[in-house]
Symmetry: C2
Subunit: 576 residues, 2 copies
């Protein structure tokens, strides 16, 4: 019987409870969003005691379904002021699911200045003082925790950024090598964790068995079909394992949609130097592993080890969005520098997208020249040190823009746009504008049909059809995020009909249900409607579903396009 683990930071009490009826049948994002929507006062201060931080594995978590171990983290976001779910790889998702924990709900606030760690074992949970971890980065934090709790646990932690409650702070999750390289990055959830006084979670799966399956045979069969689809699709079996997500640099550059120097151009002259092809070649040359999964059960394995020129480990392969944020978007074409930034962000506990975008806005403000790799490294180091400048940068793109009086600040709902210019990839522009999450590519990845010819084809430069594309993808994504599946399974799901059916069949086999494909789509729509309703109560209306004004008037080279999807279509996107 799965349980919810409720953690009261104010009184340092923990308790297991039954899953309330209104939360049953939900997992991952569906569950974190339901808890936020039902239990969090919408107008509360996100870093005050009334906010709640929720960790939830997906509905397929803990099974041996391929790529099903994603973990969702949810709260009211200090960055956007709205509802937030960020999901992550790493080991904790699978371990929590195997331990029978449907969700951890962290409430209240520890006494000012105190830090705690939550140790979850089979059937037990305990809050323990963690003041000795104060001020440590994620790498040192996990190292210290491993000394006590060993090599078989999953670790969740915040670095200096989360302790400082910076709005760009992430929550870090250890990978299979026990490095804190996987992050619930977006929306400042690390600041919420810091505000609670929770420095770390230890998820020890010892003694946990396999998760129960109502129909084990049917599950096994569906799971095989699912894995086969992932093995068959060229993106999940070829591009991603070989070049990582960074395979997109050359593709987006070619498409003229690679935001360069704070979204002032769609092409970067140094793209080749930071491309996935170069990343792979450099890694192989230096003797690094170019193909790693970020979590157990991954068959795509789009990560790798980035080594320096001496063959020393620097960081996991920086993701495409990280390479972009710190590379083209800052005018930097130095992969070694970018890998160091990635390591620093992982260690301080920072969203690489938000922080890289913030750096680009700082460059636009004249604090540094575009392309100044050494200057960027020095400024980034200030975040860990907590200088005033470091804190501003760590507070994210909108705050840097505000403090330095910058006109061009590429954010929606206070969150920075990721690695696709919405003028040249208009479908993703609709997603940026309308998702309840603030500018976010993962919420409805229209790049599929706009650029990759996956799941159909919609001209990226024209406004027609983008709202429908985004709507369908947003609903599907909410369901994928609820299942706990890695978003990259979508490539197969969109192109191979049986892959989607296999997901439905796995859900039915695990829970003894009779869901249809339509039911799963409807679940996505229901989650989005719930999230939008929370945002309305928190103070959002249609005016928030807009890109910054200059995207409508300043043309993006090389296609010289503006964002011209009509407001009325934006307003209809999430009307189900």
């Amino acid at each position: 019987m799965v349980k919810i683990l409720r953690v009261d930071m104010t009184n340092q009490k923990v308790s297991y409870e039954d899953v309330a009826p209104e939360y049953q049948g939900l997992g991952g994002r569906g569950l974190t969003s339901a808890v936020v929507a039902r239990e969090v006062e919408p107008t509360c201060n996100p870093i005050g005691p009334l906010n709640k931080l929720i960790f939830a594995p997906g509905l397929l978590g803990g099974t041996n379904a391929a790529n099903s171990g994603r973990l969702s983290v949810g709260a009211k976001s200090p960055l956007t002021g709205g509802i937030k779910e960020a999901n992550t790889g790493g080991q904790a998702g699978q371990y929590l699911a195997k331990l029978g924990v449907a969700a951890i709900i962290v409430e209240g606030q520890a006494p000012e200045g105190r830090l705690f760690k939550l140790v979850v074992k089979k059937g037990t949970a305990e809050l323990k003082p963690a003041d000795h971890l104060k001020g440590l980065g994620n790498y040192a934090t996990v190292e210290k925790l491993v000394e006590t709790y060993g090599l078989k646990a999953g670790y969740v932690s915040i670095g200096q950024a989360g302790e400082m409650k910076l709005n760009g702070a992430s929550v870090a999750f250890s990978d299979r090598e026990l490095r804190p390289t996987r992050h619930a990055g977006r929306g400042g959830l690390g600041a919420v964790m810091g505000s609670k006084g929770l420095k770390a979670l230890v998820i020890d799966p010892e003694g946990a068995g396999n998760v129960p399956l109502m129909d084990a045979e049917a599950f096994k069969a569906a799971s095989k079909r699912f894995a086969k689809a992932l093995a068959d699709h060229p993106v999940t079996s070829g591009g991603l394992p070989t070049y990582g997500t960074d395979v997109l640099i050359n593709i987006l550059n070619e498409a003229g949609g690679l935001p360069t120097r704070n979204f002032s151009s769609g092409r970067f002259e140094g793209a080749e130097k930071v491309s996935g092809e170069t990343l792979n070649a450099v890694t192989v040359k230096r003797g690094g592993n170019p193909t790693r999964g970020c979590m157990g059960g991954c068959v795509i394995r789009c990560s790798g080890d980035f080594l320096d020129s001496n063959g020393e480990f620097v960081s996991k392969w920086p993701e495409y969005e990280t390479v972009w944020a710190w590379g083209p978007n800052c005018g930097i074409d130095d992969l070694d520098a970018i890998a160091r930034y990635d390591r620093m962000c992982d260690d301080f506990g920072l969203d690489t997208i938000e922080t890289g975008c913030a750096m680009a806005v700082a460059m636009e403000a004249g604090l540094l020249k575009f392309g100044d790799a050494a200057g960027a490294e020095k400024l980034l180091a200030e975040i860990g040190q907590g200088t005033p400048m470091g804190r501003v940068l760590g507070s994210g793109t909108a705050t840097v823009g505000r403090v330095f009086g910058v006109r061009r600040v590429p954010v929606v709902k206070g969150q920075s746009m990721p690695a696709y210019d919405p003028r040249a990839v208009k479908g993703i522009g609709v997603t940026y504008a309308t998702t309840p999450m603030g500018a976010d590519h993962t919420a409805g990845y229209s790049v599929t049909a706009n650029i990759l010819s996956v799941g159909g084809s919609v001209d990226p430069l024209k406004p027609q059809g983008q709202a429908a594309l985004s709507r369908n993808l947003q609903a599907a994504t909410a369901a994928v995020d609820t299942a706990g599946l890695c978003l990259f399974v979508a490539f197969a799901v969109l192109d191979i009909p049986d892959a989607f059916q296999a997901v439905v069949d796995m859900l039915n086999a695990k829970y003894g249900l009779n869901l249809t494909g339509d039911d799963v789509g409807a679940l996505g729509a229901k989650i989005l409607t719930m999230e939008k309703d929370f945002n309305t109560r928190a103070g959002f209306n249609n005016a928030h579903d807009r890109l910054p004004d200059y995207f409508k008037s300043e043309r993006l080279p090389p296609h010289n396009v503006v964002f011209d999807v009509p407001d009325s279509e934006l307003d209809s996107t999430l009307q189900f």
Copy 2:
């Protein structure tokens, strides 16, 4: 025939135009808000080219009616993201009205890095380069302008804060001594002016005659009755001229509503040292003038000269809200230090309320100890220097709270609360929550009936009756701000029936109208509705009409009260 002066900063062109029908019959706030509501794209970036900055004298401006020379400045606020009007004393309001200028509308944006000044003379207007004024504070700016334009003009300028586009930046107006001591302080309007590339305005009234009056005799008679009411009321004839607005320190301290150390108590042990009584005594002892008007035609004269112990001029008398923000709210009881802060804020061009509150939040964050007067002076100086820390502080209270991860940030709609704790003066709490302007005492000064027994009496500690009190005052204030009258006439207007009738009679005599008292009240309601509608289109809903959550749960000593006016009453406050 009055005209509107339209200033296109993009092309540096100016033109006079007739007052469009939809703007006729409006002045001051009514006119600035109408222009913002009709002409400004609600979702635009406040520091981008789509925002507009409007200067408008009131309907009675330029006449010899007592205290009728206030000038309204309006725009979309970079601080709140909503509509904003801030009004000010100084000389420019009377001069503009006498020149027949109903409003100046500043549009577009000068080329990056360029600065201009607008020189307005009878029948002409010209934009001239002002790059030589770059980086100067308001005192040096006005000094330089006086060298060119002489002693008889009115000067409007921004200091370093406005040039940096800081959200706490004010617009400065010269007083009768040609000092830039009167400010349109709130909402960051100085940042809008800076974003336009407009460093200063010179308003030269030479050759301007008296404003036309449809019935001069009737106007004179009504004007006399109005002046008599101001001379008869004890607040406007006794308290204010003698002790300045700082007379309120002892009164609010006694009432337990003087926010102390970032709103953690309602009483300050050092109140007496910074009271109006002390201010008067120190001024007299040092040979300063304790009774000055901030503009021509003022019969209340609540200002004075603050001299240092050597008898040298430091600043005009700091207003009550300034003394409070930097005094009790920062735990500082040193009037000399506060006068220096006031001078620095005037010089850099900063809202003293926003910046003092920001300093108190910085103290709560541990950057300084409460009461550290020298430390506060050093930090404040950093704003003028434009250091990262200075820019954060100059960006206002909410930004300091965000960057330093502070939980207790006393703002509504991003704007800091002024000098009355809403838990102990609940009527002002309703105004803070519901005015379209962000937390603002002047928008509906419920302190009158809550504390001063002016215009009736409503128990400040009880929730009953506060919404109605605030509603009536907000409507009346919108009308007063449209007439161009100093808000302090409200003391007489609320208590002496003939004072209100005299205002109506003056309007009728000037414009040849037949307005009733009800018409004037209805005008206020109409303006508020228009402002709220703009805010809705800019992204506001009821969730923004709330105080920060901790005001509902943390009790304020000495009365140990929370803010408990129900949300439903807040939502009904501005339903007309």
